[in-house]
Amino acid sequence: MIESLKTDLTQWEIGPYDHSLPGPMLLRLRLDGELIVAGEVETGFLHRGLEKALERQLWRSAIPYADRLDPEGALFGELALCLAVEEIAALAVPPRAQSIRVILSELTRISAHMGYIVRVARAVGSETMVHYVLRDREKILDLFELATGARVSLNFLRFGGVQADVTEGFIERVLEICELLRIRLKEYNDLFTYNHAFIKRTRGIGTIAPELARAFGVTGPNARASGISFDVRKEHPYSGYDFLDFEVPVGRRESQHLGDANHRFLLRLQEISTSVEILKQSAEAITSGPFALRKPEESFEVPRGEAYIRIESSRGLLGCHLVSDGGAYPERIQFRPPSLALLSVLPQLVRGIRIEDLPVVLATLDIGVAEADR
């Protein structure tokens, strides 16, 4: 019942299920007109008890569960688990398997970043861009299907290697995709990135200052857009990233709009170029040889031990803490998902923006609710 014009603050709850949100979460907003005065985030709606579920699996059957950590970047969960097990069991992965892992990782990163572009385009209402990027993302999913038989949840990595050697023609098609993406990125820029209306929608909102990023433990592309040069692939190389020659894009410190939504978007585009570069090098440098230490059906035991490994997922630093008591099951598995830091920093970012900016800020942050809630 609206009897008179309200001038006090409005309360608005968005969620837990809402298409402007990256996943199930509840946002409690206090609005002054269209301005957001304060925001609170409630999470846990997607909690599946994933870490506990992993402890109930045999070592080998834990891998498909790790896929579910972040469905969009399924390979990163697998890779983190495999690297942790390999560290405890001191397994040396053959070079060919390393290269295949790097290729699949970077393809996953590109597909996740393309999904990101789609969400940003949808948040600002640019349907054309959405369809163009989805069309090209399909080609990467086709490559996954060619190599692993699955498009999203790959379940392809094994302790000490990968499940199978890549299909004939896969490497050539990876190189074709690299060439295609180089052309497409230019198209995306022409159509969308440098569109005046898009820049006006994203510039200066949801800014993460470098200090804020450090204080909340923000990592990955979001932190790099804030000018923090930290990439696990460079700082703590794994799977042979130290043998590859690539530059990690970082936001320029002197930029006036350091760490805002537009910067984060641009950085993702640059990351795709970097990944293409890595893909090319890995595809050209791939050696022949075994793709795994043993046959997949052979059982093996993980000795007693503890490991913490870090990898660079598409959203940032993904940690995996693994404890083994030498038995048939993992004793304890914990993940450190990069999205959790974003959820904690979110209330700082929504303060002072307009409600129309909220979907844009959420989309440019790239929060993976699945991995945050686990």
């Binding site: 019942m1 949808r122 349907e127 209306a197 006006k200 929608r201 129309e356």
Partner: protein
């Protein structure tokens, strides 16, 4: 009834009704028939074309199931929407909205210019009437949003009002520019001041009229909330705003109003600035001389609607590649960019008209 409505009479008399049926009733029925036969189907055609063309722009297929190449998709959509159950009970506020909305829609039928003989109300103020109808549509939409008692509806309603007010001023000024050149606001005068040749259209008369044309079209987008200026109906943040709680038949009426508003605006833009209904190669004169009013009506209507569809498609094309602007950016743009330009156009058009009168 205005004497201009007499064009209907030869059509009506052809059916030989009883003498006891009053003329005004026949005229009114004829109008409703025209509305149903021209406006509503043109909405379906435009909806289909928009979908198919945007599918082509966006590297996808578009509707292809209902009928050959999906041509029956608008019909399927309409039937589905009509039979859907309302998501909420009908309340008296929505009844008021429906009344205002329908009145605004039907009031335009009388004033919409569709040809030299299809002019029902051709008064000194004719060109302003569809403009007011558009504002009344916005008013009804705002009421609907405020009556919903939800935050998205509230913001949607307020944004509709803000955009309508911001767009109305430059649109009105641009309308004055066209009127100044024609020397009046009668549809017949405005059309007579132009010709079929694009060089003699108002938009091409001088640079100021060209600016006025642009301002008129763009401020229409702002006024009616058409993409990419549709922040009032934005989906990601306020779930479509006013329409967030509408479903079924209410949504049908609402969508028809939105689409019809766009079509109406494009028709007016074509009549004011793009030569109106005058047929090329002197066909209009020949048909008039040959005393075949029905053929003239049909050809003029088709010619006018073709130009209108082209304008609609160009606007849709631009809308497809541009992101949606934020509502404060939209109103800011209307007040601080469109309005000054419209004033420049008005001053320029007045000077040109005064120069010509000397």
């Amino acid at each position: 009834m205005n004497a201009q409505a007499m064009w209907l009479n030869p059509w009506i008399s052809g059916f030989s009704f009883a003498e006891s049926v009053p003329q005004w009733l026949l005229t009114a029925c004829g109008l409703v028939l025209i509305y149903c036969l021209v406006i509503v189907p043109s909405g379906a055609v435009m909806g289909y074309l928009e979908r198919k063309l945007s599918a082509d722009f966006q590297a996808r297929v578009g509707p292809n199931r209902a009928g050959p190449a999906g041509v029956l998709q608008p019909v399927a959509d309409l039937l589905k929407l009509l039979q859907k159950q309302a998501s909420r009970d009908w309340n008296w506020r929505e009844a008021i909205w429906l009344l205002v909305h329908t009145m605004a829609l039907y009031s335009t039928v009388a004033v919409i210019p569709l040809g030299s003989l299809l002019l029902l109300v051709d008064t000194d103020m004719s060109a302003f009437l569809p403009f007011w109808s558009a504002l009344v549509l916005a008013l009804g939409t705002m009421f609907l949003g405020l009556s919903q008692g939800s935050v998205p509806g509230w913001f949607g309603g307020i944004r509709v009002a803000a955009q309508a007010l911001a767009g109305a001023f430059p649109a009105l000024i641009a309308l004055l520019c066209a009127g100044i050149r024609a020397g009046g606001f009668r549809w017949s005068e405005i059309a007579a001041a132009q010709s079929s040749s694009p060089l003699l259209w108002t938009a091409a008369a001088n640079p100021f009229q060209f600016i006025a044309f642009f301002v008129f079209v763009i401020s229409g987008l702002v006024l009616l909330g058409i993409p990419p200026m549709d922040a009032a109906f934005s989906a990601p943040d306020i779930h479509g705003g006013v329409s967030s709680h509408l479903s079924g038949r209410k949504l049908t009426v609402f969508r028809l109003g939105r689409f019809y508003g766009f079509l109406l605006w494009s028709v007016i833009a074509v009549v004011l600035f793009l030569g109106g209904w005058e047929l090329p190669f002197g066909l209009s004169t020949e048909l008039r001389n040959a005393d075949s009013p029905r053929l003239l009506q049909i050809f003029e209507l088709c010619w006018l609607l073709s130009k209108t569809f082209l304008l609609v498609l160009v606007v849709t094309w631009i809308a497809k590649v541009n992101p949606r602007s934020r509502v404060d950016q939209v109103t800011d743009f209307a007040w601080r960019v469109l309005s000054p330009f419209s004033l420049v156009a008005l001053i320029g058009a007045s000077l040109v008209a005064g120069w010509g009168a000397l």
